[in-house]
Subunit: 95 residues, 2 copies
């Protein structure tokens, strides 16, 4: 069973993810990504999709043309967990 | 310049898209798609992405695991246009 991060662990983890913003509902982190066009945006989504499926942890995300909005949260933990932090770093690595 | 559908043309078009719901903001149509899992949902999105790019008309959509929510609207027309109807039929054809 994966657990929510403690306040201390969360603060430490977020310090290393400066581009991400804490969101309240659901408790998690979010980031907006902007690309030159739809093909670039969806190409990014495809790479994230493969990484996410492999990690068995999936984003909540939306896309409008060249923009992708992503929220990472762990429903099983009722909030932000290490799985979200790990996936965020993997997503960063794809940029 | 693409134009918004008249009330008459809209009613006629929507009669042939019974699975789609009219939404107000933005003025358009929406549909929720549910799949067995993430791979199936994202596979569907990938097929839609290719069709949409080819049509040069893109959905506003979100995905959470096995669920895809799609809104079709035409910003240049300020609402629902024939391009949305055409894309909706193409999406239906992918199911």
């Amino acid at each position: 069973m994966i657990e929510k991060l403690s306040d201390e662990a969360r603060a430490l983890a977020l310090a290393n993810l400066p581009e991400w913003t804490v969101v309240a509902d659901p408790d998690g982190i979010s980031r907006r990504f902007t690309f030159p066009d739809f093909v670039a945006a969806f190409g990014f989504m495809t790479r994230v999709a493969i990484v996410a499926e492999k990690a068995d942890h999936h984003p909540e995300w939306s896309n409008v043309y060249n923009r992708v909005d992503m929220v990472l949260t762990t429903h099983d933990a009722g909030g932000l967990s290490q799985r979200d932090i790990d996936l965020a770093h993997q997503v960063e690595g794809l940029l």
